[in-house]
């Protein structure tokens, strides 16, 4: 197969985004059709990517695009996750916008654009390309967050996210500059060559990597760069929150993993730092999550914790034979559960997201048993109860940590997951063990409910057949 085939899914997504943008101009454009179209683009891109994964055995020539973009099994996996996230987000959106009327065609266009940015981010083998991809992704997401202009909450979320995101983006630039100063190039390949002969603790390299990491930490909401995440998730619409929580994190982790896997040298110099960040992220996230009454905020906080777990995997990755399988697997597991949660929330949230608090879901199991069951499955997966995907993900992460000699980190990760049990169970308790106070009327079968069920099945499927590994 041709080398460019690897980029086919990207091209499809990009074309989709542009087409939808053009479609938006058309006076008869309807957002519902646009949602179906974007669904189609994501699906096609996903299957194209799947085809790529299954058939392309050769890696891309390093000369392609001057080596600024690269493809590996890890990026392929990350792209798969991103496309799938996009697909399920459009499903949720389709349902969500039945009761919330602020969508336009541009919404889906931007969704596709942000997916393009994410895919580029995970493929980037050069820092400024990464920066631009990051900005494409971020800007598109900012807009999506603030899409509901009538809502002051959405606007506020947009504002916070934008200011802090731009603020953190500046660090990326500074970091890139420093690395450029040190290695004379921003291409990963050249940096790796340079690192082969120079220590990673060369001040410029150290400082550069530091500032780069800060931006990534911000994007993955690692402690202490986490504070935005609750407010932003809270303020944005359900499908977008799901998309942000999953695809964006996947892309950011793809970048950081690609970067750290450049050379063992670089990775080793960051182990201590990552260790502490991971620990603080896990525990900080837990302590924030415990006090939340709003499900979206709780999931946001739990997202912080999950980032902590992923950081454990980052600590433990072996740059000699980096496959990123553990990270990809965990991201997939996490994404499935989180997307499922938000699909369910999109479906059940009601008009203007009137049901968002734990108490709003009291007695759901009595009225909507299937919905309650699927939400339970997602929560159990996030909590890491076997045989869900979340458990296997956690299992791999702890295994990789212990194999890498980071036993303390493994233990701390486990302790954190014990702490996380409380707030996951709390929602289950709400749904099952209280009497219903309302009827949870939702209008019929919807795409979101289908996607919820599909994701619930996916949770088990990924857990029981971990094909990635």
């Amino acid at each position: 197969m041709h080398d460019f085939a690897s980029f086919l899914p990207l091209v499809i997504t990009c074309a989709g985004a542009l087409l939808l943008m053009l479609y938006a101009v058309c006076p008869k454009a309807e957002q519902e059709k646009a949602s179906l179209m974007s669904m189609g683009f994501f699906a096609v891109a996903f299957f194209a990517q799947l085809l790529v994964v299954c058939t392309v055995s050769r890696s891309v020539f390093p000369e392609t695009f001057n080596g600024l973009l690269g493809v590996s099994s890890f990026t392929n996996a990350a792209c798969l996750i991103i496309y799938a996230c996009g697909f399920f987000t459009t499903l949720s959106s389709h349902t969500y916008f039945r009761e919330n009327h602020f969508a336009t065609v541009e919404f889906y266009s931007l969704l596709l654009f942000s997916a393009v940015g994410m895919v580029l981010l995970s493929m980037a083998r050069e820092l400024i390309t990464a920066f631009i991809a990051l900005e494409i992704m971020s800007l598109a997401i900012y807009i999506l967050v603030g899409f509901n202009r009538a809502s002051s909450r959405a606007t506020e979320a947009l504002f916070k996210y934008f200011i802090l995101g731009a603020f953190s983006g500046a660090f990326f630039c500074m970091g890139t500059a420093m690395i450029y100063g040190a290695a004379g190039s921003t291409r990963f390949e050249s940096i790796a060559e340079w690192l082969a002969f120079n220590p990673a603790t060369t001040p410029l390299m150290l400082g550069g990597a530091f500032f780069l990491l800060i931006t990534i930490f911000f994007k993955i909401s690692a402690f202490p760069f986490h504070a935005w995440v609750l407010d932003v998730y809270d303020g944005s619409s359900n499908p977008i929150t799901g998309f942000m929580a999953t695809a964006l994190k996947t892309a950011a982790f793809a970048l950081i993993a690609n970067f750290l896997a450049l050379s063992g040298n670089l990775h080793d110099s960051w182990i201590t730092g990552l260790f502490w960040i991971a620990v603080f992220t896990m525990f900080g996230g837990n302590l924030i999550a415990i006090g939340q009454d709003n499900i979206k905020r709780m999931i946001a906080a739990s997202g912080i914790v999950h980032s902590g777990y992923l950081l454990i995997a980052l600590v433990a990755i072996n740059s000699e034979h980096f496959s990123g399988a553990v990270i990809a697997y965990y991201l997939a597991a996490y994404s499935v559960a989180t997307l499922g949660m938000f699909a369910a929330l999109s479906w059940l949230g009601g008009e203007g997201e009137k049901r968002v608090n734990f108490d709003d879901f009291k007695g759901l199991a009595k009225r909507q048993p299937l919905a309650a069951a699927t939400i339970t499955i997602f929560l159990l997966s996030m909590a890491g109860i076997p045989p869900t995907a979340g458990f296997m993900g956690k299992f791999y992460i702890i295994t990789s940590a212990i194999t890498a000699g980071q036993i303390a980190l493994g233990v701390l990760g486990i302790i954190s997951s014990i702490l996380s049990m409380w707030y996951y169970l709390r929602l289950i308790v709400s749904m099952y063990f209280h009497d219903a106070e309302e009827d949870f009327v939702v209008n019929g079968t919807s795409l979101a409910s289908i996607s919820t069920v599909a994701l619930a099945i996916g949770t088990f499927a990924i857990g029981l057949f971990p094909l990635v590994l």
Binding site: M21, N66, H101, A103, F113, I128, I136, L139
Partner: protein, 170 residues
Amino acid sequence: MYIDTLFSIFALTAVAGSLGLVLFRHPMRSALCLAVTMISLAGIYALLSAKLIFLLQLIVYAGAVTALIVFIIMFLNLREKDLPEENERFTYFIGGAVVLIPVAWFMIKVMKSIPEVKNSIVGNGFGSIKEVGQMLFTNWLVPFEIISLLLLVTLIGAVVLAGIRRESND
């Protein structure tokens, strides 16, 4: 040397401008200070033999961006009461400066680790439009292309956020 002298002048202007930017209460003044900083920086780029960047800095930043900002400030017709009081900004500034000392110290240490090279104007093609352009369209094609995507997104965003919206269920 005249380069050093020019650098000192530009640097002082830039710092002064940036301080003004941060400390002036009214955004209009801040915007003007920003313009001052931008222009000083453009001069510094010139000193660093980055001709194209020098131009871009003047055109895009000092020109377009600052103008845009000023325009929006005027557009919003901000009055005194719309602006936050912000009497505490000096306190925060000083407190923040204290917090930032380690960061600055760290960064300066990092920066000072480079070999001592005397700046002098590099002649010929270095930083000229042609050379840079050639590189841009060969080695750096991908970022260049995807920047177009970025601008598209911004375009849509500006329309979606600030423009007139055709509501979906009209």
